[in-house]
């Protein structure tokens, strides 16, 4: 129709050059995290970033971060998972039963727990992918189902007395293999340096690879600037940890997950299909993406990550309780959206979700140090979530889409 033609012609104008605004959006959430850290560092008189608090920030928030990694992928694909909190509780119960009642070694109990998570994911994935029931409904049902099963497994009680190796997963540190200098753990510093070198080598490698193919590369100043900031941040965190109890075991697990899942989303065919489905499901189907398989895999994946979070939270608590994992799904979803994911799917990153989780974590810790009432903490977190998404949306609209 002629109306169509005229509308198209109206958009036919010279394309403006790429603006800095886009970069601001990308780093906006990081800037928000830095701002919140500085704010609470000042308000708490420097107590926020004391070694013990940095350590606790990582250990206390680890399970939410693990859940956020799985959740961001589900949300990019256009779904949601409300069941992860209940899965955390149920898997924790299964792991504790496996150790105490079935007398399995702790590592086998962990494997059993992950397997249970995969089965839970396959169950939910089946309904979402093959019966095409909206994930909201499937996982709402799962939330009730798995919480109920948890109560049945635990007979309403608690299973405690878990072995120390198991407890170390969530609440322990790497041994001081390289000794200490004064009170500082050498291993932690060495690991930090290795991480920095690995980061620099990989980035420089990728950059020279692009240059060899005559592809556009980032300016040297901004490239080295970003690497320097990252190196300083990594070393600062490691220094604080080294002066407390060393490297938390969970930090190693988290680092591996973040690197692996970022790679999966950015570089793999699977990851690309997830973004394509969230961006335009019809177009993905018409391009030959096997959407059912992708959906099924996404739920198996988040099931296993929820199981891992269940192992971690049970180990940190030292016992399995029926009320474990309550509201974890909401924390994970909030982290993902604070981290810049789009409600309608297609947009989001693993690092964004992790930073979003840390924003919530810093907020929790800062408010706790200031002895703000728990009720107020909850209210403030709610407002932060709302404002973060509102900021992101208005920003996008101003961006012209």
């Amino acid at each position: 129709m002629s109306t169509q033609t005229s509308a198209e012609q109206a958009t036919e104008k010279p394309i403006p050059p790429r603006k800095l605004a886009l970069d601001f959006r990308q780093y906006g959430i990081l800037a928000a995290l830095v701002a919140i850290i500085v704010l609470f560092q000042v308000l708490t008189g420097g107590r926020l970033l004391m070694p013990g608090n940095v350590n606790n920030l990582i250990q206390q928030n680890s399970y939410v971060l693990i859940l956020a990694i799985g959740m961001v992928m589900v949300i990019i694909a256009g779904h949601i998972d409300l069941s992860v909190g209940s899965v955390v509780a149920m898997v924790g119960a299964v792991a504790a039963l496996a150790i105490n009642d079935w007398h399995l070694p702790w590592w086998l109990a962990v494997l059993v727990a992950l397997l249970v998570g995969a089965l839970v994911g396959a169950w939910q994935g089946f309904w979402v992918a093959y019966v095409e029931i909206p994930a909201f409904i499937v996982t709402l049902a799962g939330m009730l189902l798995f919480r109920g099963l948890t109560l049945i497994f635990l007979h309403g009680g608690t299973i405690g007395g878990l072995p120390s190796e198991f407890v170390a997963i969530g609440a322990g540190w790497l041994p001081s293999w390289l000794g200490t200098v004064g009170k500082t753990d050498v291993l932690t510093i060495v690991l930090g340096v290795i991480a920095c070198v690995a980061l620099a080598v990989l980035q420089v490698g990728a950059r020279s690879g692009r240059r060899a193919l005559d592809l556009p590369v980032e300016g040297a100043a901004s490239f080295w600037g970003k690497i320097s900031v990252a190196v300083v941040a990594i070393l600062a965190v490691c220094w604080q940890l080294a002066n407390y109890s060393g490297t938390p075991i969970i930090l190693i697990i988290l680092a591996v997950l973040i690197v692996a899942y970022s790679f999966l989303l950015n570089r793999s065919v699977f990851g690309r299909h997830v973004y394509a489905m969230g961006g335009n499901l019809f177009a993905a189907v018409m391009s030959g993406v096997k959407t059912r398989r992708v959906n099924f895999a996404l739920f198996v994946n988040i099931g296993m990550l929820a199981a891992l979070a269940g192992v971690v939270s049970t180990s940190r608590a030292g016992s399995a309780v029926a009320s474990a994992g309550q509201n974890y799904e909401l924390d994970a979803i909030a982290a993902v959206f604070i981290g810049g994911a789009a409600v309608q799917g297609g947009v989001g990153t693993v690092t964004g979700a992790v930073i979003g989780g840390l924003v919530m974590g810093v907020l929790n810790m800062g408010l706790s140090i200031l002895s703000v009432d728990a009720a107020w903490q909850m209210a403030i977190k709610g407002l932060v979530l709302l404002l973060a998404v509102a900021f992101d949306l208005t920003n996008k609209r101003r961006g012209g889409r």
Binding site: T5, M286, V347
Partner: protein, 514 residues
């Protein structure tokens, strides 16, 4: 005011859309009690004219005058035109499937007192209206329980509940089977007994000949003529000539066909509607395409062209699909998109925003989407190679974007279309099905797309081009198939094709084939 005065006079209506003239000095007169058909090609301005009449484009948004019953009408919106007795029934029905027939009939016009609905009155009046339109259903029946044909009757009952005096029907039979169509046409021609005048927008000349008293033909936003169907010189040929009679402009790059062996053949292809499974949308269609050949598909809206293409390509549309597909003489399966792609078939959709592109993805990610496996080893994408390939296509196809990392949604329509084409060309297809490849893009970009299509044919690919624009088909294709009501009604070589001969085949209906 007497009965011989026209009910409606629209005079010198002109309507622009940001510089494009959709209606140019259109005048039309509708006599009281007649069935007045309006016909014209896709884009001739029929829908725009009806939107002006029904107040969708309010008074002041167009120039010219509307006279209803002898007095000037200045509608501000649909509500004011409805208050004056004008009701329009759109091609896509606007009923709520989960509510009952009676609730739908009185939606927004409830039989109520101080906000409380009188259900007895609602049921009684609904029953009376259903009797008038000849629909034998309980008013309490939900809309989703009745077929499209009956839903169309509910729309008419809904219009009558508003005391309609001028009823506009936009392609009312486009979605109906033959039996329902016939019933509806009888109902429309009997409307004058209820004191209702009808304006019928239709592509189907058979229908027009059957029930219209007069026909006004629009072309390129202008009134061509009004033909009295009872006069001896009123013929389908005359209507067709009025619809298409325009000069072919020299808008097409030259194309020297080098036609090779047969590459793609479809036999006996039949597709049923996915919801109304009794409706045959594609009816025993068959066609062949040779290497290096550009074959056109001409058909009016609703003829089943896109449905044919989408059912062939991975059965993305329709149910009850039967028929055989051959590639290079061997029968192939195309039941999934994967299978179709693996046999070298590409389908470039007519609705690029809905089906063709991830608008929030980058140009590079869209271009690589179909053939992603080629850029990956062990499931890991080589993004540098992906970027370089996208760059090649950006240069060769002249896609105007600062970089291929740009988000596709920011590109203009013509450039988006080039991205969709690129994405399919990366998959290295032998057979390209292009559905409305130049819809909604400007003349310059159209010329570029035509050039690309010629290049593809010159490379020995088989090209199928579906288009609503006859000049485009006549300018580009070596051979043109016509489709009417889901059946292939003609196979015309370029040398023999004229707009008139094609339009005749496009409007003949499948009845004539039997």
């Amino acid at each position: 005011m007497t009965d011989t005065d026209p009910i409606l006079r629209m005079r010198n209506i002109t309507k622009d859309f940001s510089g494009v003239r959709a209606l140019d000095d259109v005048s039309i007169e509708v006599a009281r009690g007649e069935v007045h058909a309006i016909c014209g090609e896709n884009g001739a301005g029929k829908s725009t004219l009806m939107k002006v009449l029904s107040g969708v484009y309010p008074h002041g948004a167009y120039s010219g005058t509307i006279e209803l019953n002898g007095t000037e009408a200045t509608f501000a919106d649909i509500n004011s035109s409805e208050a004056a007795g004008i009701v329009i029934i759109h091609q896509e029905l606007a009923l709520n499937p989960l509510q009952s027939i009676a609730e739908n009939i009185f939606l927004g016009n409830e039989r109520s007192k101080r906000g409380v609905i009188n259900w007895d009155r609602t049921a009684i009046e609904a029953g009376a209206l259903l009797a008038k339109v000849g629909l034998d259903e309980n008013p309490a029946t939900k809309i989703y329980e009745i077929g499209v044909g009956k839903q169309q009757l509910v729309e008419i009952a809904k219009a009558m509940a508003k005391d309609v005096s001028l009823l506009i029907l936009d392609e009312p039979t486009a979605a109906l089977n033959d039996e329902d169509s016939n019933h509806l046409l009888d109902l429309i021609s009997g409307m004058r007994d209820h004191g209702i005048t009808c304006i019928l927008i239709s592509h189907k000349l058979r229908e027009i000949r059957r029930i219209a008293d007069r026909v006004t033909v629009l072309r390129d936003g202008k009134t061509i003529e009004t033909i009295d169907m009872s006069s001896p010189d009123a013929s389908e040929a005359r209507i067709i000539k009025a619809m298409v009679g325009r000069e072919l402009n020299n808008l097409f790059p030259p194309h020297e066909p080098r036609i090779g062996r047969e590459m793609f053949r479809v036999e006996d292809w039949t597709v049923h509607h996915p919801v109304d499974t009794s409706r045959v949308v594609v009816d025993h269609a068959g066609f062949t395409v040779h290497a290096g050949e550009i074959v056109g598909f001409a058909g009016l809206m609703g003829a089943g062209r896109t449905e044919l293409a989408m059912s062939l390509f991975g059965r993305l549309w329709g149910t009850g699909i039967s028929g055989r597909v051959f590639k290079d003489g061997l029968e192939i399966r195309t039941a999934t998109v994967d299978e179709a792609v693996s046999h070298g078939i590409a389908y470039v959709t007519e609705d690029r925003k809905r089906y063709g592109l991830n608008l929030i993805g980058s140009v590079a990610a869209n271009i690589s989407a179909v053939a992603l496996a080629r850029f990956a080893r062990w499931g890991i994408i080589d993004r540098n190679r992906e970027y370089l390939t996208a760059e090649d296509y950006r240069r060769n196809m002249n896609i105007k974007t600062p970089t291929v990392s740009e988000v596709v949604g920011k590109l203009s329509g013509g450039n988006q279309q080039k991205v969709v084409l690129s994405k399919w060309l990366v998959s290295g297809p032998d057979v390209l099905i292009l559905d409305e490849p130049t819809r909604g893009i400007d003349v310059g970009a159209k010329y570029e797309i035509y050039g690309l299509i010629n290049q593809l044919a010159a490379q020995g690919k088989a090209v199928v081009m579906i288009s609503s624009e006859l000049p485009e088909l006549l300018g580009m294709c070596d051979r043109i198939y016509t489709i009417s009501e889901g059946a292939v009604t003609g196979d015309v070589p370029r040398s023999e094709a004229t707009p008139e001969s094609l339009m005749y085949l496009m409007t003949m209906g499948k009845e004539a084939l039997r």
